[in-house]
Amino acid sequence: MLTMKNVTKVFRTEMVETHALRELTLEVKSGEFVAVTGPSGSGKTTFLNIAGLLDDFTGGEYRLDGVEVRQLGDRARSKLRNEKIGFVFQSFNLIPDLNLFDNVDVPLRYRGFTRGERRQRIERALERVGLASRIRHFPAELSGGQQQRVAIARAIAGDPKLLLADEPTGNLDSQMAREVMQLLEELNAGGTVVVIVTHDPEIAARAQRNVHIVDGVASHLDRGPALVSPALRTA
C-alpha cells in the first residue's frame, strides 16, 4: 500500500536546517494496522505528512498504492489524496462554519460525486459513527469525542484505502479514546489500512505492528517484519 525508501526531509529556514527525516525506509502492506511511536520531535508528523501527500520530501522514493508520488503536480497529488487517503487529526479539524452534513461533504465535493451519491455517503458515514441524528448540528455543539467521530466519518465517507491518524486520541479522555480506537479497528477489519501516530502505549499495543521513529529514522519494530533502516543496519 505504502512504500518509502530512503525518504529524507530537510526543513530549511534562513538560520537552520532541520533534518526531520533521515533516510526513512518503511513499508505498510494492505490490511495492516500500524502504530507509529517515538519521542516528541522525532519526525512522526513529518512522516505522516509525507505519507499523506500533505508535504513534499527532500530525497528518496515514495510509492502510494503503486503510484510514484515524487513527480506528481498539485492537481494529481490533490486528486490522489482525495481518493486514496482519509485523515484523522488530533485537533479534529472540522470546519466550524459548516454543519456536520457539509463537513462530511467537503472531500466528497472535491471528488465530484453526484448530489445523490454524496447525500447517501454522508448519511451512511455519520450513521457508522453514531451521529446521524446530529446531521444539521455545527461542530461547536458537539463534545470532543463526537467531533472526532465526525472527523472519522468525513475520513471514511469516500471509502479511502488508507486512513492516516495523527494522535487521534490525544485530545480525548480514555473512554472516548477507546471508542475512537474501536472505530478504527472496525474500519481496519473492513479492509482499510490504518496508520496511526500515537504517544499512548496502550493504543500502540492494540496495533498489529509498531514503528518507532527516533530522530528521523524508523528504528524499532514490534511484531512485524517490515522495518529496514540503513541507520539501524550501520548502528
Binding site: T45, S78, F89, L98, R109, Y110
Partner: protein, 402 residues
C-alpha cells in the same frame, strides 16, 4: 460547485459580509448615477456649434465717445482686418455660438402668437457672415447683397431670414420651410435658406430650443453688434489676433478691444462648469471604486488569514490550489452579486430623487449590465491577491497542533 456551503459560511459571518455587500451596493448606486451624469456632461460639451470653430477668432470692441458714422468705420475696419495675412474672411456680428450673451426673439409660424411661439436666437451681421462662419447651407440660398439693410438705420426692416434645421422643423414640422413666412411677433420674414446647425450663445431657454437660431440680413456696425468675427487659415489664429489691435487702432483710435480669443476658447469657457463637474464626478467615482476595492482586499485578506487552518484542512481533504482559488473568487462573486442587486435598486432610487430634485434624466437601462460587469471585474481583481495567497497555504497546516 461550493455555492451553498459558501452561502452558509457567509451567513455565519453575517456582519462582515453585510458590510462589504453594502459597500458594493452604495458604490454601485453612486457610481452608476455619477457615470450617467458624467456622460450627460460630456455629451453636452460635445454639442456642435455649426461653425468652423478652429478657424474662427473673435474681437469684441467698444468705442469711447460718439462715433459719427459707425457703419463707415465698420466697413473700414473689415477691409483692414481682411488685409491681415492669414485672414480668409471677416464679418461684423452681434454674437457668437456659446458666447454666453445673445439676442433672442419669440418666433412663430403665425403672427402675434402668444401661446404657440418659441424663442430663437437672432444672429445678424455683415454680408460675409455665412461665409465667415463656414456654416452648411442645406436648402435654399444665402442672402443677396440687395437684401442687406443697415441695422442702425431708422425703421430698419428686413423681409427674409435663414433658419436652422431644428427651428424649421419646430415651425413647420415635416414640411419644406422654404418660402414660408415666420413671424417675430407681428413682423413677417420669408425663409430663404436653411442651415444645418448654428448653436445659440447659451441654452438658458432650455435644452430643447438650444439649436433654434435664425439669421437676419441686418448689416450691423461695431457700435451695435460689438463683435468682429474673423476666419483665419488653419493654425494662424494666434498670429492674426496679435495683429488685430494695431490694425484696428490704425483705422481709428479711442476704441477698446476685449475678448481677443478663438472660438475654441469661447467654447472652453462656456463649458467650464460642465468640465469641472465631470472631473469632480470622475474623481469621486474613482475614489469610491478604490475604497471599495480596498475594502474587498481587506476583508478577503482577513478571511484568508482567519481561515488559514480551514484552507489547510480543505487542501488535506483533496482540494487543489485551483479549488481554493476558485472558492474565494466564487465567494467574492456572490458578495458582489448581492451588492449589485441591492445597488441597482439604490441606483434607481437615487436617480428618482435626482430626477425630482434636479430634473436629471432617467437612468438608461444600459447602466445596469455595464455597472454589474464593472463591479464584478473590480471584485474579482481585488480578491485575486488574497485568493492566490490562500491557494499557496500548505495542506501540512492541518497536522500542525493548535
Amino acid at each position: 460547485m461550493d455555492f451553498l456551503p459558501i452561502l452558509s459560511t457567509l451567513r455565519r459571518h453575517r456582519t462582515a459580509a453585510t458590510l462589504v455587500v453594502l459597500e458594493i451596493a452604495l458604490t454601485c448606486a453612486i457610481v452608476s448615477n455619477a457615470v450617467f451624469l458624467i456622460r450627460e456632461r460630456l455629451a453636452r460639451m460635445d454639442t456642435p456649434s455649426g461653425v468652423v470653430e478652429e478657424e474662427l477668432v473673435r474681437v469684441r470692441l467698444i468705442g469711447i465717445g460718439q462715433t459719427a458714422d459707425a457703419a463707415a468705420l465698420t466697413a473700414q475696419d473689415l477691409v483692414a482686418l481682411r488685409a491681415i495675412p492669414g485672414v480668409k474672411s471677416v464679418a461684423s456680428t452681434n454674437q457668437v455660438p456659446f458666447g454666453n450673451s445673445g439676442w433672442n426673439s419669440s418666433v412663430s409660424s403665425i403672427p402675434d402668437d402668444v401661446s404657440g411661439s418659441t424663442t430663437a436666437s437672432l444672429y445678424m451681421g455683415t454680408q460675409d457672415l455665412l461665409e465667415t462662419w463656414g456654416v452648411r447651407l442645406i436648402a435654399g440660398r444665402d442672402f443677396t447683397p440687395e437684401e442687406y439693410v443697415d441695422a442702425d438705420a431708422k425703421d430698419a426692416k428686413v423681409s427674409s431670414a435663414i433658419v436652422t434645421r431644428a427651428l424649421a422643423e419646430r415651425l413647420f414640422p415635416g414640411q419644406s420651410p422654404l418660402g414660408r413666412t415666420l413671424y417675430l411677433g407681428s413682423d413677417p420674414e420669408t425663409i430663404v435658406g436653411v442651415i444645418d446647425e448654428l448653436a445659440r450663445p447659451n441654452d438658458r431657454n432650455g435644452p430643447e430650443s438650444a439649436a433654434y437660431s435664425m439669421v437676419l440680413p441686418l448689416s450691423i456696425s461695431y457700435t451695435t453688434g460689438g463683435t468682429y468675427l474673423i476666419r483665419v487659415e488653419p493654425g494662424r489664429g494666434g498670429e492674426v489676433l496679435a495683429a488685430v489691435d494695431a490694425t484696428l487702432t490704425k483705422v481709428a483710435a479711442n476704441r477698446i478691444f476685449t475678448h481677443l480669443e478663438s472660438l475654441t476658447e469661447v467654447r472652453d469657457s462656456y463649458f467650464r462648469k460642465d468640465r469641472s463637474m465631470a472631473y469632480l464626478l470622475i474623481g469621486v467615482s474613482l475614489a469610491l471604486l478604490i475604497i471599495t476595492a480596498l475594502g474587498i482586499v481587506g476583508l478577503a485578506s482577513f478571511w484568508v488569514q482567519q481561515r488559514t487552518r480551514q484552507i489547510g484542512i480543505r487542501r488535506a481533504l483533496g482540494a487543489s490550489r485551483g479549488d481554493i482559488l476558485r472558492y474565494f473568487l466564487l465567494e467574492n462573486f456572490i458578495l458582489a452579486t448581492m451588492g449589485i442587486v441591492v445597488g441597482m435598486g439604490l441606483a434607481y432610487a437615487l436617480n428618482h430623487w435626482l430626477m425630482d430634485a434636479y430634473a436629471v434624466p432617467r437612468l438608461p437601462a444600459t447602466v445596469l449590465p455595464i455597472g454589474a460587469v464593472a463591479l464584478w471585474l473590480l471584485g474579482q481583481l481585488a480578491v485575486l491577491a488574497p485568493a492566490l495567497r490562500a491557494a499557496r497555504i500548505s495542506p501540512a497546516i492541518a497536522t500542525r497542533s493548535v
